[in-house]
């Protein structure tokens, strides 16, 4: 990659959302902003190798995109009043940077993750408008047809326009809930990449975890005092740190206790731990209690703080799950707590707890039962549970692990 290519890639990562966001505010139209931003980057690809990289790539891109947008509006005979007004008001002086909460990228994010949009539309729109991924890239990552993904994004943009979804940061009273909506979108993007990372045919999907981390870093920069934002970033970093250790060379899922801890990414773990410590300090100083992401990050911090799985502090993990149950008493949280209980109090106690849960359609429930039954020497029941787990599991690497575990039963 040449220096210019690198500069363009970096500018795309750092400036895309800013360009789209500022144009959306100026022209009141996501479509115009998206197209003009894409054109500005195309011009950069053409011009920068010849003219050199401009000293301030962001300002150059914004100015170029603005000119393109105005050209388009002038070209089109049909204009609505807002656009006419925007052209009339337009000047070339750069937009003054405002406080973090006023950042246009936050408005863009809240608009793309608006609760009036369908969840899959929020994800697609966020990746396109904020992340700068192309429609073919998003379609490929989510294994849908390009035309389907294109329509999904167009429909969402049309709804934003027709239903007048506002381009603004929500009022203080609505902010926590709307931030949690944004975080849910980012976590879905992350999980889509993470949970399918074992599927080698879809290597592109692991890019989704990196994209989710990049966008969460952006939200963190914009909302530095939000504990759940910090928690989600820490959680993603601590999971991402184990990515290469999580799938074996033969494409099989490797459980946490069997992973080669030497291959974990220590820099990501250190960053995740620092965020968790930062939040613990805030809570210790009387700040608001931790939400789900902060607790999940803390659990992952406990796991990643020992070099040997046998040294894991299970009592602390159970205590954190108890805290988690107070935030979210769902059966899935109880299932995860029971897995920790098995290490602390033995498989029998854990099995009694999970047999009370109504999770018959969830593969991890059957996989956990199978494992506990195996440890209790109840091979027949264990085999049946593995069968059910394999039937329900969707991830190829996980199916490979479950199948091997099941097939080992007979040889014991």
């Amino acid at each position: 990659m040449t220096d210019v290519d690198e500069a363009i890639t970096r500018a795309h990562h750092e400036e895309w959302a800013r360009v789209v966001a500022s144009l959306t505010r100026r022209f009141g139209d996501l479509d115009i902003a998206e197209d003009a931003a894409a054109e500005a980057f195309a011009v950069a690809v053409e011009r920068w190798p010849l003219d050199g990289v401009p000293p301030n790539p962001g300002a150059w891109l914004t100015t170029t995109a603005n000119r393109r947008a105005i050209d388009r509006i002038r070209r089109e005979s049909k204009r609505d009043d807002k656009q006419k007004e925007a052209v009339a008001m337009h000047d070339d002086t750069p937009h003054e940077p405002l406080g973090a909460i006023e950042d246009d990228r936050l408005r863009l994010l809240f608009t793309c993750c608006h609760p009036a949009l369908a969840p899959e539309a929020r994800i697609a729109l966020t990746l396109r408008m904020v992340g700068g991924l192309t429609v073919p890239e998003i379609a490929k990552a989510f294994l849908v047809q390009e035309t389907t993904m294109g329509q999904r994004i167009t429909r969402a943009k049309n709804k934003i326009k027709a239903a007048h979804i506002p381009y603004r940061v929500p009022e203080a009273a609505d902010l926590p809930e709307r931030v949690s909506g944004v975080l849910a979108v980012l976590f879905l993007v992350f999980n889509e990449g993470y949970l399918s990372s074992g599927d080698h045919e879809n290597a592109v999907r692991s890019d989704l975890t990196l994209e989710a981390i990049r966008l969460t870093r952006l939200v963190r920069a914009l909302l530095p005092d939000d504990g759940e934002v910090a928690g989600l970033l820490a959680l993603m970093l601590l999971i991402e740190a184990r990515r290469t250790a999580r799938v074996s060379a033969t494409g099989e899922l490797v459980r946490l206790d069997e992973q080669d801890r030497g291959s974990w990414d220590l820099a990501l773990i250190a960053e995740g731990h620092a965020l968790v410590r930062e939040r613990l300090a805030v809570v210790a100083n009387g700040g608001p209690g931790p939400g789900r992401y902060q607790i999940l990050a803390a659990i992952n911090a406990v796991h990643t703080s020992v070099r040997d799985a046998r040294d894991t502090d299970w009592s602390q993990i159970v205590a954190l799950y108890d805290q988690m149950i107070r935030v979210d008493a769902s059966p899935i949280v109880r299932l995860n707590r029971a897995i920790a209980v098995a290490e602390l109090d033995g498989p029998e106690v854990a099995l009694a707890e999970i047999d009370r849960l109504d999770l018959d359609d969830y593969h991890a429930f059957h996989a956990t039962r199978a494992d506990l039954l195996r440890r209790l020497g109840r091979s027949g029941e264990s085999r049946a549970a593995y069968d059910r787990a394999i039937e329900l599991a969707e991830n190829a690497a996980e199916v490979a692990l479950l199948t091997r575990r099941r097939d080992q039963l007979g040889r014991i």
Binding site: H164, I165, P166, D174
Partner: protein, 122 residues
Amino acid sequence: MVQYLMSVWGSEEDLEKPFGGYESEEQMQASFAATGAFNQKLMDQGYFVFANGLDSPKTATVVDGTGDKPVYTDGPYTEAKEFIGGFWVIDVPNLDVALELAAEGSAACLGKVEVRPMHGVE
């Protein structure tokens, strides 16, 4: 400002029950009072354009005036099980305000509310 139609949806079945889908006379009266208070609030805030409840779809007549002579048909336009039982037209700054009001209206009238933007008169 944008105008939205907030429509309340119910079923024919509910309408035929003794209290029109409400659990009791008391609940029905309480809901009417809450809806009245909500309407008053909309007026005070300057958001109210119009609101009313609709009679049963059985009382509807479909008129087709696209041909030479109008054709009159007894009954509603569609055979759907769910139908609009009442509606508001509000005039508010954006969808966030409309959604917040719809939540209040839904709680008052004890029914689900659909929020739909109306074409602007720009």
